[in-house]
């Protein structure tokens, strides 16, 4: 009886968790221009409208540039830190790693305002590059979390075996380490891309004249007439995120399999 109750609770929890997302496509294909029930009829008009909005295209391009750069920079920084954290012991390790991971719990508004104020005090204009810098800061902990898993799963004696068989440290990294953590790297790139693409606060504070996709979305939310288009855009974004996530998860599992390990859970 207790088990059933728990299962029902978990089921309801999952339904509530997905409730808002399920509404998205309902309104995106609804021909009524007001976001409210009852629904009117089926239309793809709002998706068509997305194609005719140049400002949206500019924002999308801007977001893509930022997200791709962030994914690359965060993953590189994450590789350094994750490798150091799993492979070596050094003085102050806990403090250093803890500090690098701090943006994971720090309210984003604090990161945003401190970066903005530094830029303002230095008299620099905020813009695309400053958003990339900010996003890299908050994505690096996620990259580290994912890559640390990959490195930790790898038996250290594999690298020693390669060196023992005549390879140099660099060729060992290329022949053994990289192939074995590659799935983790791909997963990290994808996750950082998703986070950056979706991040609002830092972009909102730092975007200046070139808004990112979320910042542009935010500006649309003020105009009721634009809301159906927002729903259409949201639907696409959600689908894209889910697609990338499934991809990232697949890579993560492939990495585990390649390392000959059993799956132990999800991200984080």
């Amino acid at each position: 009886m207790k088990l059933n109750l728990l299962a029902v609770f978990a089921g309801v929890y999952l339904v509530v968790l997905y409730a808002p997302i399920v509404l998205l496509p309902l309104f995106a294909f609804n021909s009524g221009s007001v976001i409210a029930f009852p629904l009117r009829g089926f239309t793809t008009e709002w998706f068509g409208l997305l194609l005719d909005t140049p400002a949206l295209h500019a924002a999308t391009l801007n977001s893509l540039i930022i997200a791709i750069s962030t994914a690359i920079f965060s993953t590189i920084l994450g590789l350094f830190a994750a490798r150091a954290a799993t492979r070596y012991g050094f003085p102050g390790k806990g403090g250093i790693v803890g500090f690098i991971m701090l943006p994971l719990v720090l309210p984003e508004v604090i990161v945003a305002i401190s970066l903005l104020i530094v830029l303002m005090q230095l008299g620099l204009n905020s813009g695309t590059w400053s958003i990339i810098a900010g996003h890299t800061l908050i994505c690096t902990p996620f990259a580290i979390a994912i890559l640390q898993g990959s490195f930790a799963n790898m038996d250290r004696s594999l690298e020693e075996a390669a060196v023992d068989l005549g390879e140099t440290p660099w060729s060992t990294f290329r022949l053994i380490t990289l192939p074995l953590v590659a799935p983790g790297i791909v997963a990290s790139l994808l996750i950082c891309f998703i986070i950056s693409l979706d991040e609002f606060i830092i972009a909102f504070f730092l975007s200046g004249n070139s808004p990112t996709l979320p910042v542009y979305l935010w500006s649309l939310l003020r105009f009721p007439a634009q809301l159906p288009m927002v729903m259409a855009l949201g639907t696409i974004l959600v689908l894209l995120s889910v697609l990338l996530l499934v991809l990232a998860e697949t890579f993560r599992r492939r990495g585990l399999r390649r390392a000959g390990l059993k799956d132990t859970g999800g991200f984080l």
Binding site: A81, Y88, F90, S114, V118, L137, F200, F267
Partner: protein
């Protein structure tokens, strides 16, 4: 020459290699996190006069922030909303984490976790906005309840106030609460529970005496991971909070962009971090103290009652101090006094009272 050789040796040592390897990431975090944080701390002691910033070290911003009821009400509300969100999120998350860990078949667990994390990765902005739609006057909640005949007219109190902020944030942070609790529950050796049952405990008591204490570190992690970021949330209060649901991040944004008062924005940011840190310090240390007290007083109902009494007494004392002291000794003295009492008490507890069997 010797020195160069020494450095070379250090670079080749374990510690040297580790430090060298982590330095790019660490330096990046120092430049983009530590330095800016130091900058806002510095700025919070300066003042804005029209378009220029006066670079004199003074406490004016803090005085203003702590004495002006607008700011104090804002900070207290942020704290209250975050605390409620944390409570709701963690209490609702625990059974789900428990269900996944104890009742879902092993090979299905990662699917469940994946399903739970997916919403977290989808556009935060749009998710929050959708809650505005759901909770709206003519939204699905109200129309559903009307259709079912539960209510006669749409509920007005579920949107544009603190309630809607709590609902939306609790929804947004659900996966954050589930994951750490799940991880800890997974680590619990199942034979411990069998041993407890074998030693005569009922299923419920085995849960209370074994599972719950062992899961506490995960619960604590969930509390931290929900409480800290929600205090600083901007989007949710702005979209669904109305004027009665605004939080500190909204005011920080307004100070910088609308009022062009960066020092005040910086001050509020520093205060927000300070409040989070103090609240957590206070909460964790007191929890340890109360649990310890309950055990020392013989445990069971009696110990529990004494600990509860101590908790109520302290909270009442803090409330009185917070509301009455500013009138008696002035706001700065009251705040500084309160800070000292809370931090000194916490430090005393955390150093003197040992970690109990609840692992806090």
């Amino acid at each position: 020459m010797g020195e160069v050789a020494g450095i070379g040796k250090l670079m080749r040592s374990e510690a040297g290699k580790g430090l060298t390897l982590i330095s790019p990431t660490f330096v990046y975090a120092l430049l983009l996190l530590a330095a800016p944080l130091a900058m806002i701390l510095l700025l919070s002691f300066w003042t804005q006069e029209f378009l220029t910033i006066v670079r004199d070290f003074q406490l004016g911003n803090y005085q203003e922030a702590l004495s002006d009821p607008i700011y104090t009400a804002l900070m207290l509300r942020s704290l209250r909303i975050s605390a409620t969100v944390t409570l709701v999120t963690v209490v609702l998350a625990f059974p789900v984490a428990y269900y996944i860990s104890f009742h879902v078949r092993h090979e299905r667990k990662s699917l469940w976790l994946f399903l739970i994390t997916i919403p977290f990765w989808t556009s935060y902005l749009i998710r929050v906005f959708l809650w505005r739609v759901i909770l709206a006057y003519d939204g699905p909640v109200n129309s559903g309840l009307l259709a079912l005949g539960v209510i006669d007219e749409p509920l007005g109190w579920i949107l544009y106030n603190a309630n809607s902020v709590v609902i939306t944030l609790a929804h947004a942070y659900a996966p954050f609460a589930i994951l750490p609790i799940f991880v800890v529950l997974e680590k619990i050796d199942r034979s411990l529970l069998e041993a407890a049952r074998d030693l005569g405990e009922s299923r419920a008591m085995a849960f209370l005496r074994v599972t719950l204490p062992l899961a506490m570190p995960g619960v604590l992690a969930a509390v931290l991971i929900v409480f800290i970021p929600t205090v600083g949330d901007y989007v949710t209060p702005q979209l669904v909070g109305g004027s009665g649901g605004l939080m500190i991040a909204n005011n920080i944004h307004a100070q910088i962009f609308a009022f062009n008062n960066r020092p005040m924005g910086a001050t509020l940011a520093v205060l927000a971090m300070l409040i989070v840190a103090m609240t957590l310090l206070w909460g964790i240390s007191r929890l340890r103290f109360w649990l310890w007290l309950a055990d020392r007083m013989g445990g069971g109902m009696r110990g529990g009652a004494i600990a509860l009494g101590a908790a109520v007494a302290e909270i009442a004392a803090i409330r009185v101090a917070f509301s009455a002291a500013p009138g008696l000794v002035g706001p700065e003295a009251a705040i500084i006094g309160l800070l000292l009492i809370v931090s000194a008490g916490s430090a005393l507890i955390l150093t003197r009272v040992p970690k109990g069997r609840w692992g806090i």
